[in-house]
């Protein structure tokens, strides 16, 4: 079978969704003839027509707001925000409207929409193009936030997001878009939208990560294996709600945990996970939960970008720390 990159897998899922459900509609900036700045929608306008794959004016607020209206009135909008740094203008519509329309109307109206946005750094993009502010979204009640960690997961989780009856922000780790391929079969099968995935089983320490940072986490796991340390690697996948059961089970088994994310430390999602594990797995914990994260500063311009992003080395240092804790 052919290999597919994550961007291919996303396109495959979008195409499948457009095909199987005529209420699915795509809109966003430059997603039509240009196929999206990352080409996620390449060819879709040509195939499904400019009525179902639409270029919007340059207006993030109305992109999000139109999703709410369209979703409430029978469509399943899948909209693209070009970069997460431009998603801030959509937060009002997400938090005040999308995430609570079902609740406000006691289920009379609902909001089955997906807002896709590439996020994270590592591709030497201009400023404001490397945001990783998923924790802000994960704090909003009524929303779902999903991040795929591989082409296969991107395909299955995006289908799940589109079919989900509630609003989903689907954050795509842009560093992984073309980072490597794997066979992805276009079966139309969705993956469970709420589940974390154990990517590798291990006994000594649990690594929890998501998105592009899985790369460093995976590298760390391999290095640790060489050193005889058996690390379990969990791809969180659903950032809201959090699959706490899977995380707790893993840490109860291993007794140690390191969380890796690219977003700033303070009030990052790692805090929630660490707090939850520290509270609920205290008895099992053999060492404090450590977080390896982006720093609490503005993502620097590209010359220093690599110094900002957590390195495999930093992950390894944290793991050794918790391994040596006594």
């Amino acid at each position: 079978m052919a290999e597919h990159t994550m961007i291919d897998a996303i396109r495959m899922a979008l195409s499948r969704a457009l095909d199987e459900d005529e209420t699915v509609i795509l809109f966003g900036q430059d997603i039509g003839i240009d196929g999206g700045v990352f080409r996620a929608t390449n060819g879709l306008m040509q195939r499904f027509g400019s009525g179902r794959v639409r270029d919007t004016p340059l207006s993030e607020t109305v992109i999000a707001g139109m999703c709410v209206g369209a979703a409430a009135h029978g469509l399943r909008p899948v909209a693209e925000i070009q970069f997460m740094g431009f998603l801030y203008s959509a937060i009002d519509q997400l938090a005040n409207h999308a995430a609570r329309l079902r609740n406000r109307t006691r289920g009379r109206l609902s909001c089955p929409m997906v807002l896709r946005a590439p996020f994270g750094g590592g591709i030497k993009a201009p400023e404001h193009h490397s945001e990783s502010m998923e924790a802000m979204l994960a704090h909003i009640p009524g929303l779902r936030v999903v991040v795929p960690g591989s082409p296969t997961r991107a395909y299955g989780l995006l289908l799940a997001a589109i079919r989900d009856p509630d609003p989903v922000v689907f954050l795509e780790p842009k560093r992984l878009y073309r980072a490597g391929g794997e066979p992805v079969e276009d079966t139309g099968a969705a993956l469970p939208i709420e589940q974390a995935e154990v990517l590798q089983e291990g006994d000594d320490v649990t690594l929890i990560s998501w998105g592009a940072m899985l790369t460093e986490a995976r590298e760390a796991v391999e290095t640790l294996a060489d050193e005889g340390i058996s690390a379990e690697l969990v791809d969180l996948s659903s950032l809201k709600p959090i699959d706490r059961a899977t995380l707790r089970a893993s840490v109860e088994k291993t007794g140690r945990c390191v969380i890796v994310h690219e977003a700033p430390l303070t009030a990052g999602l790692g805090a929630e996970i660490a707090a939850d594990l520290a509270e609920h797995c205290l008895i099992s914990l053999l060492a404090p939960v450590r977080r390896v994260t982006g720093y609490d500063t503005v993502m620097p311009y590209l010359r220093l970008e690599a110094s900002y992003l957590p390195s495999t080395d930093r992950v390894l240092r944290a793991v050794r720390d918790v391994m040596e804790f006594a």
């Binding site: 509609i25 009525g51 639409r54 919007t56 004016p57 207006s59 607020t61 109305v62 999000a64 707001g65 139109m66 999703c67 709410v68 209206g69 369209a70 979703a71 409430a72 009135h73 029978g74 469509l75 909008p77 009002d92 519509q93 005040n96 409207h97 079902r102 609740n103 406000r104 109307t105 006691r106 289920g107 009379r108 109206l109 609902s110 009640p141 009524g142 779902r144 989900d164 009856p165 509630d166 709420e194 709600p241 959090i242 699959d243 706490r244 059961a245």
Partner: protein
């Protein structure tokens, strides 16, 4: 006054009436709806003053906007009101009891049996305009319906309004945006809100037609809205309709307008309010008399009182109801909290 009107403040006919305004039943229905809205309003304020309703936004003096707009809509259209359009919601079939529930702080008030596709009240100013663009997008796909959103003069300063207006223009969406220009946004008068000559003029920014009408004349409101809806239904795209009315009451029950505007201004506007002119017209042209008026007031009073009774008798939802409609199915993550909340 530059804006289009059919009746002047005393109810004199200013120009040829549109067809619907020659039908006595239609005019009576419009008048009835405005009286009903005003009756609801008075009761809501009374309930709030006695601690039995939450903060409430009165529509006093603006009944013609709400009712005129709603009356121009077809049943299957979608209404996206701001927080001040009770008259329109009532016209569309939301019950007074449901409205009391909403303003009393109970989400069930938004689960109205009436126009199931209509949006609930939009509190964040102007956010309903993007929603309306989205509804209109869905309608454009099926070829059915028109989205009708209303906001205030203040709403025209929000980016949401403008971004939505622009996409309605760019995509030819079947949407009508109505501005209830009641000349105040809390303490800010319309003249300080923007330098635009009229709010209807803002349509120019989106290349859409914009029209200003006398918002105290329900005939003018209905006529202009109907034309706009007709264009939208015919595939001719969106319109901005500005209805110039006046907020005779406080901004909400939490506001004290005497802090920032003169009584004299308010008194002057009482002479232009929408009910009296239509009543005068009905009296002069359609045999409306004291008996009809009394009967109408009584029936509105009785209906609203009964609705208030039922509202007051409605027990609050149990605590765990706050999780009942968060998602289609409650994630495990949150389920434990629902349990805790249920336990008190």
């Amino acid at each position: 006054m530059p804006e289009t009107a059919f009746l002047d403040a005393r109810g004199e006919v200013l120009r040829d009436l549109p067809d619907f305004a020659r039908e006595p039943e239609t005019l009576r229905a419009l008048y009835t709806a405005m009286v009903r809205a005003r009756t609801f309003d008075a009761k809501a304020i009374a309930l709030q003053r006695t601690g039995r309703l939450g903060t409430y936004a009165s529509s006093l003096g603006q009944e013609a906007v709400s009712v005129g707009v709603a009356a121009a809509m077809a049943e299957e259209d979608v209404f996206l009101p701001s927080f001040r359009e009770h008259g329109g919601q009532l016209w569309r079939g939301v019950t007074p009891e449901e409205l009391f529930l909403y303003w009393g702080g109970d989400e069930r008030g938004n689960d109205f049996a009436g126009p199931r596709q209509d949006f609930p009240v939009c509190v964040p100013v102007a956010a309903q305009f993007p929603h309306a663009a989205g509804v209109a997008l869905a309608m454009q796909q099926t070829g059915e319906g028109v989205a009708v959103a209303i906001g205030g003069d203040g709403a025209t300063s929000k980016g949401d309004f403008y971004e939505a207006l622009n996409v309605v223009g760019a995509w030819d969406l079947p949407a009508v945006f109505v501005i209830n220009n009641n000349q105040w946004a809390i303490s800010m008068p319309r003249t300080e809100q923007t330098r635009a000559r009229t709010l209807a003029d803002k349509a120019v920014a989106a290349g859409l037609p914009g029209e200003q009408v006398d918002g105290n004349d329900v005939i003018a409101v209905r006529e202009a809205t109907a034309r706009a809806i007709g264009r939208a239904r015919g595939g001719e795209g969106g319109t901005l309709v500005e209805c110039v009315s006046y907020r005779l009451g406080d901004h909400t029950t939490a506001d004290d307008a005497s802090r920032y505007r003169d009584d004299a201004e308010v008194s002057a506007h009482w002479k232009e309010e929408p009910l009296i002119r239509l009543r005068n017209h009905l009296v002069a042209e359609h045999g409306w008399g004291k008996a009809e008026e009394d009967a109408l007031l009584r029936s509105c009073h009785d209906e609203i009182e009964a609705a208030a009774e039922r509202y007051l008798a409605t027990a609050p939802q149990p605590a765990r109801a706050m999780f009942a409609h968060l998602y289609a199915s409650l994630p495990e993550d949150v389920a434990a909290q629902a349990g805790e909340a249920g336990d008190g």
